[in-house]
């Protein structure tokens, strides 16, 4: 009987919380929790690279030699001595790159943000950044990498933080154009770049007669008004061409490694058509 009451209580409170969360009532609480967790998450993310290397080694290359491990530890010890200096240098370089993108897109206004967390859920591809509505961010705003390629859009905005939906998220669909390599006449093929659960980016709805090959560049088409035109996504990797199919499919290699982003730029003066209003 006790278990039954507990189950009823938990289910009721959970459903109520989900409803409140969807109506943004709980956003201040989520903002507060990220404020508390962000410094710790940032610190732990610094440790993530060696951990990722370890697991890659464990599962992809078999056993690691003891000597290799000793050298790695020695290297890590030396690296930790220069970490502060390297971090400052890297930050300066990132800001320089961001400045370069800003110069290439003079009409856009950017907010530079640091990535503080990744959504651990297996059914989403999302990142948390340390900028929020206080910095002028709004849902639907477009996010670029520091080198200017498309990363995703802002999906949730708290006061000091925001969550980004990456272009590899299963809910993401971007109208794109494939620029055939070396074709100056511009025989562009239009399609949709959609994410999937494997973290890949696939090119869909490309007309069967379109000529696309490996290495062709993929950029936003601007159709639908949800993304500005000519934002670079990546390049075509493998084309699936079935004789009877109405559409071609292909895999797109994103221009930037979306799993290791540290800094992103949010375009604040572009709102998608669906949110900009009449």
């Amino acid at each position: 009987m006790r278990l039954l009451w507990w189950t009823l209580a938990v289910v009721s409170v959970s459903l109520l919380s989900i409803a409140l969360s969807e109506s943004r009532t709980l956003y201040p609480v989520q903002n507060l929790s990220l404020t508390v967790a962000a410094p710790l998450e940032n610190g732990l993310r610094e440790l993530a690279d060696p951990i990722a290397d370890f697991f890659e080694g464990l599962f992809n290359r078999g056993d690691l030699k003891r000597e290799n491990e000793r050298l790695r530890q020695e290297l890590e010890r030396l690296q930790s001595q220069v970490a502060a200096a390297e971090d400052a240098q890297r930050r300066a370089q990132e800001l320089e790159e961001a400045l370069g993108v800003k110069e290439s897109r003079p009409h856009d206004e950017f907010v530079v943000a640091d990535v503080i967390a990744q959504d651990p859920s297996g059914v989403k591809r999302a990142l948390a950044i340390d900028r929020g509505s206080k910095d002028g961010l709004d849902e639907g705003m477009v996010v670029l990498s520091k080198s200017g390629s498309l990363v995703g859009t802002v999906s949730r905005v708290y006061e000091d933080f925001a969550w980004l939906r990456l272009i590899t998220d299963p809910n993401s669909a971007v109208n794109v154009v494939v620029l055939a390599e070396g074709d100056e006449e511009g025989s562009e093929a239009r399609g949709v770049a959609a994410g999937d659960l494997g973290g890949r980016l696939s090119l869909e709805m490309v007309p069967a007669e379109a000529q696309i090959t490996d290495g062709d560049l993929v950029t936003t088409s601007g159709l639908g008004g949800n993304y500005p035109r000519a934002l670079f996504l990546g390049s075509v990797r493998s084309v699936e061409d079935k004789p009877q199919a109405l559409f071609k499919k292909a895999t797109v290699e994103p221009a930037v490694d979306l799993s290791s982003l540290d800094t992103v730029m949010v375009i604040t003066n572009f709102l998608p058509a669906r949110l900009a209003g009449p």
Partner: protein, 172 residues
């Protein structure tokens, strides 16, 4: 005091889940430190404590992810029901039922969270979600639970012996 320890542990697990865990990919999925922590706690300390610790862990996980608050509380709640295995003792070992609970709880978590995301309007690919996320996560979480369970059990104070038996005789 035990709930304070549980809070700190669950908070640390939630922070790990959003910071380091996404970099640890095994079979294409990342381990879920919060689920592993909650399931191990339930199997070591029992259903009564799990009734407090599991929702607390779920809430902390919700507050550090982009899911609607309440999703993880709901999705982790089957752990409390599964913790009945601890008292039923289907096999002599405590360890194997704990791994089984982690595996089943992982599947339940994936199904419930995908249901919630579908209900709030997200486009969840159920087929690939089950195939690429839910089933592999059963194995991966159980694998990591094997690492977490034994130290946690060793650190946990032994529950007092109830009724007559060897434990009660020693106490006398």
């Amino acid at each position: 005091m035990k709930y304070l320890v549980a809070f700190v542990g669950a908070f640390f697990a939630a922070v790990l889940a959003a910071s380091v865990a996404p970099y640890v990919k095994v079979l294409g999925v990342t381990p879920d430190p919060v689920l592993i922590f909650a399931a191990c706690w339930a199997m070591i300390r029992g259903q009564w404590e799990a009734m407090v610790v599991v929702p607390m862990a779920g809430l902390l996980r919700d507050l550090t992810t982009s899911d609607p608050v309440g999703t993880s509380v709901l999705a982790l709640s089957p752990i409390v029901l599964l913790a009945v295995l601890r008292d039923l003792r289907p096999v002599e070992s405590d360890f194997l039922p704990a791994l089984a609970v982690v595996a089943v709880a992982s599947l339940a978590y994936a199904v419930i969270s995908m249901t919630v995301l579908t209900a709030v309007g997200d486009d969840v690919p159920w087929g690939t979600g089950l195939l690429w996320v839910a089933f592999p996560s059963m194995l991966v979480n159980a694998l990591f639970a094997a690492i977490v369970y034994l130290p946690m059990r060793w650190l946990s104070p032994r529950p007092r012996a109830e009724g007559f038996g060897v434990g009660s005789a020693v106490q006398l």
